[in-house]
Structure formats: C-alpha cells, structure tokens
Symmetry: C2
C-alpha cells in the first residue's frame, strides 16, 4: 500500500468532488485551502458550471487529465460511488472527508463496509471517511477544511481527532512549530496508523512521527512496522482512553472497541514508541527529537545562574532514567578557575546571579567537553547583566561545537521571546519549566535506547503441535469451551514441565498410577461440569499409597452426590509437589482485540491479587522480553532468593514464558489461559495447575 | 511576630542603608525599584551626600523620622551593626539583601548567628540575609534588586530562591498574573515560611499562598500554622530536593540539612498544603484557586466540541480524585433536545464540530444545572463557526450564574488570545492542555477536602510515663544507646500489649517464670553487647516447661563462649505467640531533622522490605490519621482478612500507632524505634519484639 501513498502528499493533480462556493460549506473551505497548492486542482460537481472561476466537471469520469488524488466532499449517500469512479479510472489516492459512516449507526457502518470493499477492490489508498483532510507543506497542500494551515517543518502528525488537528495547528503556528505532513485519520476504513508509520519511516523529509490515537487497528502489525521505523525515526504518541472512563468515552466517540490499557502499554513499548502522557509532552518531546542529536549515554550536566531552578532540574533528573554526571578533575579545575568564589563547580553548576554570557559560555563549554557528560541543560533566571538573546546564541554555538544534545530553560516571559526564537532556529528547545526540559531530554535518551535495541526473534521450540491440537479439538468436539486438568497435556506438548500425572477410570488404575509416581499423591475429580472442585471436596492432597483406592471411590461418590448428571472423565492422580520448596508464580494469557495474546507474569496469591504486582507483554516474546518480565515486578528480588526464600531457576521461568507464548501464538483458539501456580524451585519449574477458555469456532 | 509583619509590606517610611548611584550595584537597583513607592524612602550611606537628589543620612541614627522598614544593602561586615542600630531605634522590620552569611563558609555562618541574635534581641522581623528583597503591590512597594516588578493581584508568593522570583515575575507579567506580596526568604535567619503562612493566612488581600521551598525550618510548627491558614486560604508549594540527587543539590545550594522526602510528603499533606510537582503546576493550581469557588463534590461535567480532547480530559479525570458526573434524566432530555443528532448527550458532552457559541452555552447551562454536577470543564477546538472571545464570555457568564467552579481549555494559539483575556478577567483559568485543566480542577477539589478536614487532637492515653522514663534512664546510665528486649517494658508502660515476659537470673527463676506463663515459651539471652542473638543461638523457640532449666544454662554458655566479656543482663522468658494466628505488621519511628518523629507503618517481612509498601505520618497522630495509615498501604485488604488470612483487629493496630506516637512525642531521646513484628490477630495485637536507639544526652 505504501507504494502509492506518496501520491497522497505529493500529487500533481487533485480533484475535489463536491467543490462548491456555498458559504459555510466544507466543499468551499477545502477548495479555498487548496488555493496555494503547487499543482493543479480541478473541481467536480454535477450541479455547478464553475467554482470560483474554474470550470467544473460533472463527474470524475469527465476529467480529461490524470488524477493523483481525489478529495471527496459529497453527501454520504454518493461517497461510495465517487470512490468507485475514482478506482475505475485508476486514481490511487482518496481522502474522504464526508461523515456519516461508522460513527453514525448501523446504516453508516454498512456504508463504511461498502466503502472499504470498493477501495480494496481498486487498491485505492483511502484516508477517512469522516476526516478533516490532509496537509503537506513541501507542496503547499492543504486539503483540509480546518481554519488554518501549517508552517513548514519536519514533524509528521496523524490524529484520530480532526478537531485536535485544528487546535494543534493554531497553537503550533503561534509557537513557530512546523510540519511536513498532517493526516486526519478519520474512521480508518482503509488507511490506518500503521500505513503512515510505515510511509513516514521511509520519508526523508520526516524527522519525527507524532500521533494522537484512540485505538490501534492491528496491534501486531503496528509493532512490527513501528520497530523498523523507530530505528531511524522516532515515534511519539498520545494514546488516549488510558483510564476506564477515558476508554468508555473514546469508544462512544469513535465506535471502536478499545483494547486494554495493559496491552497498549506493553505493545507501544515493544514497538519502540515514546508515549506522551498529554498534548504538552507530545510537543515537548517532538521539539527535542526534531532538533537535537541522540546522547551517547544518560549522564546530564546542569548549568544555571540560579540555584533554585538548578535543584528543580536535579529533582527531575532523579525522577527520570537520566543521572547527574560526575565531572572529571579537569572539568572541576577548569570551572574553579573560571567561576567566582561562591559558585558551585560540581553538578549542578551554579554560575551565580551575576553571571554574564561569557561566564555561562565558559561553564557550559567546560561541562560539554567532559567525556562523562552526554547532554546538558542550561537554565537561567533573568538578571540585569544577562542578555538572553546573546545567551541563546552562545547555547546554540556550544551545542554545534560539541555535538552533544542540549535543552534550554531560559525562564521568563517577554524577556525570553527573542531568545526563544534564536534557540528555535538553532534547534535547541526552550522550556519555561526545568522539569519539562529534563523530561524532554529523558525522552531523547529513551530514543537512543530504542534505536539500539536488539529485538531478536521469538524462539521456535521443538514442540508437539499435533498433540496440542488434539487436546483442543477434543474439547471442541465435546462442545465445551473450558479445559481443566486435561489441559496439562497441552503444556506438556509444549515442553512445559508438569508433575507426573495420569487420569484413571478405576480405583485399580489409580493404585497403579500412584505406584508409578511414588510417594504421596494429589487426587482430583476430572469433570467439565464441576468448576470448583475444592468446594465439593473433589481434591485430596497428600494421599498415601494405601489410601489411593478408597480416595478414588470417595471422590467419585462426592461428585455424583453433588451433581448426579455431571460428566465424569475420571480421576487425576498427580505427583505431589512441595510448594514450600519454591516460589509460586502465575502466568496468564488473554486475547486483546487489537494486540492478540497478551502475557501476564507475577508471583502467586497476594502478589497478583492484592499487591497487583504484574507485568505484561504482547506475544510472541523473545528471550530478552521474557527475562525483562522477571525483573520488572516489584517482587523480583524474591525470585533471586531474597529473605531466605529458595531462589528460582529464572532461566526456566523465562523459557516457560516463551513456550507459553509460542503455544498461544500457534493456537488463536486459546482465548484465556492461566498457569497458576507455576512453582519455580532452584532446579526448575513445574506447572501445577492450568485453566483455559477456548473459542469453540476457531482452531 | 505577626504583629509587626504588616509593616514589612505596608510601611510608611523605608530607609535603604547602602543606597547608592553606582552603576550595576544592588544599592542602586533597589533604590530605583523603590521609585514608585506610595510612601517615603530615605537613603542612608556615610559615603554619599545625596542619592539621585535625595539627601543621604550617614547612619540610621541620623534619620530624624520614624522608620518602619530598613532595607540593608551594605557589605556583610557591617550588616550586623546596621541591624543593631535599627533595633536600637525601634525599627521593627528589616530586609537584609546583603549576601555572605550562612551560604558562605564558617565565617559567614558565624556572622549569620550574630545577625540572628541581634534581630531576636531587638525583636526585629528580619527577612534574609541573602535575599532578593520583598515586593508588595497595594502600595507599589518593590524593595528588590530584580529587573522588574509585579502586577497587582491576590497571590502572595515566597521563595527560597531569589532568581526564581525574577523568572516567575517576568513570566507572570506576560501572562497577566498578579501578586499581592512577594518575599525572597534568603537564608531565613529569623523569618521563615511559617511566619509568612501565618501572616498571609490573616491577610484579607491574599487569596492564595504560593511558595518555592527547599526546606522547612520547623516542621511541627509549620503544620500547626498551615492547618489554620488552609481553613480559609489555600497554600500551594513546590518543595524541591524531592529526590536524592535533588536533596544533595539543595543542601549544597542552601547549606541546610534536608529532611527526608517521606517526612515532607507526610508533613505537607498533614499541614493541608497542596503540593505542586513543578513550576507549571504551581501556577496552574494558583489560577484556579484564586478565581474559582470550591466545588461541593468531585463530580465533573466535560463539555466539548471535539471528541478527542474530550477523551483526553476524561482520562485526566480517571487519573485524579475526580469522577465523571452521571447526568440526571432531565439533563439528558434537555441536551437531547438542544443538540443535533450526532452529538453525545452523555458525559463528556460532545456538541460536535459545527457547534456555535449558543449551542455551547445551552449545553454548559444544562450540565451545570444538574445537581449531580459539581464542576465543569469546557473544551473547544477552533472552528469556523465559533467565536472564541464570545465563547469565553459565555463561559464566564455560565460560571457566574451557576456559581459552580469551571475551567476552560479553549485550545489554540493566536486565536485563543482574546478569549484568554476574557477568561482571565472573569477568573476562569484557561489551559491549552485538557489534562492540565482537569488536574487544576482536581487541586480545587482537594482544597475543598482540606477546608472540611477534621484534624482532631491526638489522644492523651493514660500511660505510665515515669516507668518509661526509668527504662530510658537506665540505658543512659549504662552509657548505652541501644535497647533490646528490656525495651518491652517501655511499650508496656505505654499500654502497648506485649507477650507475658520476665527477665531472670537463674535457671530456677526461669522455671518459675515459665510456670506463670503456662505452655511453651521463647527464651532469649539479654545482653547489650550481643546484637544478633539468633546468629549465636541466643534465642530458643517452643521451649516446653521441662526444657526451661537446661535451656537457661545453654543460652548463658553460648553467650559466654561467643563473647566472654559480654555483659549478660539475664535471660528473657517470654510467652510464645502463634504468629500464624495473625498478620505481622511493622511500626517504625525515626526522627526527622525538620519534622521530628516520623511514624512508619507496613506489613512485616517482604511487604516492607521487598515491596516497599509503607506509609508515613508525622507524630503526634490522631485516630483518623492512624486509621488512614492502615488503609493507605497496598496490602490493606490483608488486614481485613482477604484471601483466607485471619483478619486483624484494626482498631487495636490504630490505637497502638497512637500510643507509640505518644511515647516518641513524650521522649525526644528516642531517636529510632522499630516494633517488629506487631502481630495483629482478630482479637488484638501483641508487640513481639522492639529495638530502639536513644540519644544519650537528652531526656
């Protein structure tokens, strides 16, 4: 699909179907916004002879020239036909501004399906419907009905909210922030965020990809594409609908079913996306990513003429992944020599209140020359001896000379205006608040980590996939959607250690099974109709060899008494695992509508249920990701044997996570799965129990 | 001290000691800034005849009129003498701008002590030294050497960083934000934050108290004073040095020993202070607190013309203590009637993109009329049909009519300028980012909670204070600073239940003691020289009556073998408590340099040490505060008996916290104390072990 997208943003000729002169109409607004376009625009409207002096064509078919892009502003009833006409004559790109589709009831939804089908049939790259339009500055293309345009720049921005685009552009024009392309995604019937991430990732004129999203259409595809893009081009997204209330509002706004916040949080991180919490962060991050090189490390120098703001910046460093650089002796000597007595030559460097530009320059220069310093924050309060614009020039010059990233915080109002412009032109972002300056630098450092990431490939273990399929098919054949103990076979087929176990039909077989296992055993009734076995006494723990026979009969009797018509598949005789010898962990999977299988890891019992100490990844996961999961939970030290606990075989736990990841990736029929507990001892792991829910219609 | 402070901000006559015409000097800058003062200013300088045409007096003693305020700009060597002269002639207020005191080595520190002594001797309300000065708009008083003044307003602002004041004022002038008083606290030799909180709390012209602090001089006094102030006047503070790196930077900047972040977090909350995380929040909160009434509850309505920003606001509500209001049927009907088809009549209300001011007004009006709505956020993106300034007027009018608090988020740049002014004049703060708008409203709701808080009084339990004093004195007499098991008496004296226990000298006494206790006992060696008893086998658990005699001899032998010269105070014979019958909790105390005794509560073992699940309060605590501690930890459900645990007698735990609070408040000699574990069963609590460190010099 990427092939033709270039024509969206750099067409030679555009047809506006629905162009008109009618006051207050969208068709008029778009026509007028296209006025400055570096190419040709032709109006199409069967009900007009001309539009602002340009001869109108009654239909697309009547336009005698090649068309690269069609902008559709007709009523919803005719939009599908217009796109079909476009497809028939080989137009590759369309922006459907018209609303009244998926967002407008079932009739609209049907219409949107038609639109999608037609676009796909003819291979039209369709933006929208229900889009504000698109905008691209290199060719002065403004095919939106918004009230204003954009300054030229290297930020490319997509938004699921058209109104948000108008707000951002108005504000950005004021701030001197420019864009390369802007897209209002609308209902995303055809083209979605992944298409644009892909396109902008290969676009030389895009420096940073920005987005406001309320949902991601295909999470897995997005992750794969974004990983490639972020090797070179940072992606910063605001994903709203983070909270329950927000997700509900987003769903009523766009009509899309939102995936879980856990899935988005994990998925966006796995995709290498920098997630901004709000609008302000989106552009705070964009500015530094656009203008500054990536740092070599996380060590920051702070140079200030004001102690207080220096402390604020240091706090912000403490809150981030960054650290305060320790200066080398040479740097300290140089600073001591050049700064007056009361100054602080350690980090944060305080050049004190009477510092002029020259003193600032010397201090910044010394700090940046230090090999322990990867980046710098320059902070100043206005004083009588300091010319802010001159200081801004010195900051830009220092940045260029040393090639290390810098951010500025020349605090003030009117007084900082000129300086702000100098810094902006020099690519050094300026923030009023020291905390914002540092957080932005932190985003830059995270971007470095992202570009250096080794994602690796999820391992492909040698498993018995056919056996697993058999287990799942048996459940489906029974018309069930839940598996209990028999699901242990599924784990076994995927090489996940389970206690020795057998399902038997007679007390004699039970005795034999127990003999094979040796020692005491656990016995459980196996019945798809009895969910809470423990509650009816359907589980016996610590059964000695002599007790096995009677235990079998007792279990069956209890089950019969409890529910006479229950299907009883037998009794499970299982090796008894000493839970105290290890740490109980939980592995869970559920299927997210956008991202597919989502893995959860945590320690058993209260750790997950009361302390909510869990971590998530979108499957399939690599070794690195599985190991990260073990380290991310707060209780991680317990797996290493803290406080006298038996340590856990962490490698086996990580491997189990990956094997489970392979299982749920191989079988989309598995909707939910919990291994609880997975006991991790110093010598390995054992899955003691498992529950799962399958989709009876899929395998 | 408050008595005379008014003269600081509203003096009739000011003497500037050190006034001069010398270019670039601080004495000249202050003189010039005082130019517009609504009162008289006299220059004092032995080396000048006149200053800008005003006759100069050689010394303060030579000034023939009453002086209300002296501003000191002389070199540090003469500053103390000038303050003494001022004191001698009865001047009540002084601002010492001169630097070179506590911040400048040991010589400076000695000078600061002198300054403090002189000020206290004469009862001078002294601001500084090392202060930028003070400023008060009602009388056009600008006694600072900063580059600009302030607009009039009702915010009163103190800052431990003078440079930060210059930055804030420059920015605030640009934003149209005004101040009543501004104080640069400097080194706080005499007047500190508590004095100004006290003064502004009673000042009719101050609407909100704002501060930037790196430390608080006397935490307990601050809490008491702030609690009174915040009944009427909100206090918003940025307290920097939150992180380890930040605290270190603050300490090298101001030379003050920083208390722990835990103490500040607890203390500021107990004081009723709203803590802002950064500069931006400080003024975001200030604007809404200054202009808007407090809400009656936490339910918010969001009205927007743009779905996306509406979702962002809803997310921000989800992140806060606020909740999205559920509209009543009447409201829904009214909205349905007045809004077009595609609009969302539920909260967040989406008036959709073609909404004009009238439609907005109707929707806002309907929402505010709903009794389920306590406050509203109005959000808009710029559109062709919407006049922002007119919308701003409608917002202000709606706010006035309904009297419920509102914040606005009319997004845009240039386009939002006029609207911003209209809103500012109407007292409705406007934010570009929906998240900031909501967070500010959240601060307003927290302020309501603060004004309604019942702090109560810490209970005064009937305790045996003399017996406790004896225990502590015995340790001090021994020249020790640690107590072990004998500290159980201390708990007992304060009515904290401990297991039955006796310290005995002979095996025969041990047998008798065990008989009194009944059942198995725990036996421990008692020696101040043996800290880790368990390591040398100095603790025996589950000792049956028959084993007591031998156990005694064995414990003593082990102790002798381990350390032949150890002082052995005896053997403790203690009732054995069944730990499984309850939940192990930990109570800890340490003494913060600013706030005094700080109480910690958490569950035992991994909960505190690995999960870091703890909560803090500055002592003394009330019943309400103690109960809050129980509820605040993540593991709180376990105390209620979650997951099959025995529930805990929460009232007894809360009472124990308060008794311990009384103990450490009564005896400042107790530096650190840990009750670990305090076992909480369904029927009560028992303190199983205690450790403490005492100050040998204090009692």
């Amino acid at each position: 699909m990427t092939q033709g997208i270039r024509g969206l943003f750099a067409p030679e000729r555009i047809a506006v179907v629905g162009a008109t002169e009618r006051e207050g109409s969208v068709g008029r607004a778009i026509w007028q916004n296209l006025d400055g376009f570096d190419g040709e625009v032709v109006p199409v409207n069967p009900r007009r002879e001309t539009v602002f002096g340009e001869s109108c064509f009654p239909t697309l078919a009547d336009v005698p020239h090649d068309i690269d892009l069609v902008v559709v502003v007709v009523p919803p009833e005719s939009a599908v036909d217009v796109v079909r006409e476009a497809g028939e004559r080989g137009v590759e790109n369309a922006v459907v501004v018209t609303a009244g589709f998926g967002e407008a009831g079932s009739e609209g939804a049907a219409r949107e399906r038609d639109l999608q089908q037609v676009a796909e049939e003819y291979g039209v790259n369709l933006v929208g419907p229900n889009s504000l339009g698109i905008l691209s500055t290199p060719r002065n293309l403004n095919a939106t009905f918004g009230p204003g345009g954009a300054l030229p720049g290297t930020l490319s921005f997509m938004s699921q909210s058209g109104a948000f685009i108008t707000a951002v552009l108005d504000w950005a024009n004021d701030q001197g922030i420019g864009f390369k392309d802007v897209v209002s995604l609308g209902n995303k019937a055809v083209m979605d965020e992944t298409d644009f991430v892909d396109f902008w990732g290969e676009d030389d004129h895009t420096g940073v990809v920005l987005g406001y999203l309320e949902g991601i259409e295909d999470g897995r595809e997005f992750i794969e594409t974004a990983r490639e893009t972020t090797r070179e081009t940072p992606i910063v997204l605001v994903k709203s609908g983070r909270t329950e209330a927000g997700a509900q509002a987003a769903s009523s706004h766009t009509g899309t079913l939102a995936g879980s916040e856990e899935a988005y949080e994990a998925g966006l991180d796995q995709a290498g996306v920098l997630r901004a919490e709000n609008v302000q962060e989106l552009f705070d991050f964009a500015r530094v990513l656009d203008g500054q090189p990536l740092p070599d490390g996380d060590s920051v120098a702070v140079v200030t003429n004001a102690g207080g703001p220096g402390v604020m910046a240091t706090d912000a460093v403490g809150d981030s992944r960054l650290s305060m650089a320790s200066f080398g002796d040479e740097t300290i000597d140089a600073l001591r020599e050049s700064l007056p007595g009361g100054a602080n030559v350690y980090n944060p460097v305080d050049t004190i209140g009477d510092a002029d530009v020259e003193r600032f320059r010397t201090a910044v220069d010394a700090a940046l020359a230090d090999e322990n310093v990867d980046a710098a924050v320059v902070i100043s309060a206005p004083t009588a001896v300091l010319d802010y614009a001159e200081l801004a020039e010195a900051v830009v010059a220092c940045q260029r000379e040393h090639g290390k990233p810098m951010v500025a915080c020349l605090m003030g109002g009117e007084r900082a205006t000129d300086a702000g412009r100098v810094l902006r032109e020099g690519g050094v972002p300026n923030y009023f608040d020291p905390a914002r300056a540092v957080r932005s630098l932190d985003a830059l450092a995270r971007q470095r980590e992202i570009t250096e990431r080794e994602y690796g490939t999820p391992p492909n273990f040698d498993v018995d996939r056919e056996r697993a399929r058999d287990v799942l098919e048996q459940v489906q054949e029974r018309g069930e959607n839940r598996l209990g103990v028999e699901a242990m076979d599924l784990l076994d087929a995927y090489g996940i250690p389970t206690p020795k176990s057998e399902i038997v039909d007679t007390p004699e077989d039970a005795v034999n099974a127990a003999q094979d296992i040796e020692g005491d055993v656990v016995m459980k009734i196996v019945s798809p109709d009895i969910l809470h076995k423990s509650d009816i006494g359907g589980v016996k723990v610590g059964v000695s060899p002599e007790e096995v026979y009677d235990a079998f009969e007792d279990l069956v009797t209890r089950a019969r008494n409890y529910q006479p018509d229950a299907t009883i598949l037998g009794v499970q005789v299982q090796e008894q695992v000493d839970l105290d010898a290890g740490t109980e962990t939980i592995l869970g999977v559920n299927r997210d509508p956008q991202f597919g299988p989502l893995l959860m890891f945590g320690l058993g019992g209260i750790f997950v249920e009361v302390m909510e100490d869990t971590t998530f990844r979108v499957a399939p996961v690599t070794d690195r990701e599985a190991t990260e999961m073990l380290d991310e939970i707060q209780a991680a030290p317990l797996l290493r044997g803290a406080r006298g606990r038996p340590s856990a075989d962490r490698e086996s736990v990580a491997e189990t996570i990956q094997r489970l990841s392979q299982l749920v990736t191989d079988f989309p029929a598995i909707l939910e799965l919990d291994v609880n507990p997975l006991v991790a001892t110093p010598d390995g792991v054992q899955a003691i129990d498992v529950r799962l829910t399958v989709d009876p219609d899929e395998l």
